[in-house]
Amino acid sequence: MSIITYIIVSIIKIVLVVFVLLTAVAYAVLMERKVVGHMQNRWGPSRVGPFGIWQPLADGLKFIFKEDLTPPYVYKPLYLLAPIISVTMALTSIAVIPFGPWISAGGVQTPLQIADVNIGLLIVLGITSIGVYGIALAGWSSNSKYSLLGSLRATAQMVSYELALGLSLIGVLILAGSFSLRAIVDAQSGTWFGFIPKWFIFQGQIVAFFIYIIAAYAETNRIPFDLSEAETELVAGYHTEYSSMKFAMFFMAEYANMITVACLASVLFLGGWSGPVFGPPILRSLLPVLWFALRVFIFIFIYIWVRGTLPRFRYDQLMAFGWKFLLPLAIANIIVTSLVVALR
Amino acid sequence: MVPLSYYLVLSAILFACGVVGFLIKRNIITIFMSIELMLNAVNLTFVAFAAELRALSGHVFVFFVMVVAAAEAAVGLAIIISVFRTRETLNVDRVNLLKL
């Protein structure tokens, strides 16, 4: 297709994906509050609209109208840069994640993905690595001891669990043979015996799946790994000195990271968008996206479920767990997977 | 298209910036960063020649240079931390006595 068509289609896709992602972030916050509330035997937000549906709108308005206080003792350039880095990286890594198969609309064939690069997985890992700077610079520029301590801990934690995260994905790569996320999903198509789907989680990557989930909880600073932003420990960790819109950016970045991790897990381990498709062509194009969204929704529910259930790790337990248990386990997973593939 | 010499000149400029930083800066961490800058300039030369000669061994060598640079950064920063613990300064001009 011509370059103009490509640009227009890409812009439409970008606008759609960003819109859906931001709405999903807002409603993931609501979902978390309601689910955790119900786990604690209380209603979550339920006043603003039926079942609290308009709560994210109210929260957004509150953030806009709150006073944007910049303490005088912070190091201004980095103080302003840190939430920008966090939220930019969180929103950018959605660009290589495929949501569905190729569709044709109005005579134009296009994949349901903003950019299908053949090193897609490496790009997601790279963007996650850069996202660490948002937290590091936020704590340092705030010039306060709680922030510095929280951000040092969070940075060390994220860097340590990045290793286990990356290594757990290598088993998937060995089975799929490509870094491109669309190729990885295509390698999981089909079924055995007609009803067991050939997802990588059933092809032997169950250990890698659990390593990935645990490392992803640590990467997104969620319970049980949220020592660096725990209220009882460090006031609020690296975002103590932030208020209003800048705090909202950190908040959004955390939930957008959660959604990205959930999308990645469904693409890599749960077969992407595979599921029964039927009906007229318009339904055939949209049903895979629905199956994908269902998997992402289940993932985020598990995230919130774990948050409501588990206590948090102490910092030395956290680091020992990442280096002494998850990393050797991920390496063992690579060894076993490559042996099985080589002997096949 | 971009002539190869443009990439080589860019690499030379970056390397010169690294050398200058190594010579004039007094903070030990900045000196280390200038070393990393020099290594990156060399990486650019490798990749440019690999693209021109269509030889992928340039990329492999870049990979090795990155590994060595990472290892050197890790050990160097560990040395800086242990020097800082005793001398309480990061200025290389002040680390001039063998025994405190």
Partner: protein, 172 residues
């Protein structure tokens, strides 16, 4: 088109490198170095080296520089003090002089070697589905022809890890 992109990212690279020299606080120098590494990754993409570009972002900009930033934060490195016996004339004249001199020297040598008539960054020849710098080709070289250096570098990393852990340990 390639020329325009090269000029933009090259200028970003050089600007960030000069910013590294000019800044007094090491955290600003570290951030400038991250910008240098990012723009170098983009230049590698222009040269068709996609695997190397990804590794540059993941390893250099995302791990090594995090280490630098972490140490700067940990040691609370302050602003640099300029000691009195630094000659300001030598610094002000010498820096641009060295940079320009080296750039001119390299250009002259490249011109006489005919390298400014060679063009790179054009459409890279692809092998059907994979392009020039694809991970599969680099991996084939790395794990077959360069297997011994690969294993040696893994031992090097092991030694570096041990060294870093021992050196940074607090004396109990």
């Amino acid at each position: 088109m390639h020329l325009v992109l090269f000029l933009i990212f090259g200028a970003l690279c050089v600007g960030a490198a000069i910013n590294l020299l000019v800044q007094k606080h090491p955290i600003n120098s570290a951030l400038s170095l991250i910008v240098v590494m990012g723009s170098l990754a983009l230049l590698y993409l222009l040269l068709g080296a996609e695997f190397v570009a990804a590794v540059q972002v993941i390893v250099y900009a995302g791990a090594v520089m995090v280490l630098f930033v972490f140490v700067i934060m940990l040691l609370n490195a302050g602003e640099e003090e300029v000691l009195p016996h630094t000659s300001r004339v030598a610094v002000t004249l010498g820096i641009p002089g060295l940079i320009v001199g080296l750039a001119i020297g390299v250009w002259v040598i490249a011109h006489y070697a005919g390298l400014d008539r060679v063009n790179i960054g054009g459409p890279t020849v692809s092998n059907g589905t994979e392009s020039f710098g694809a991970p599969s080709f680099v991996a084939r070289l790395l794990f077959r022809d360069f297997l011994l250096p690969f294993e040696v570098t893994s031992i090097l990393i092991l030694v570096a890890i041990l060294g870093a852990v021992v050196l940074a340990r607090r004396e109990e």
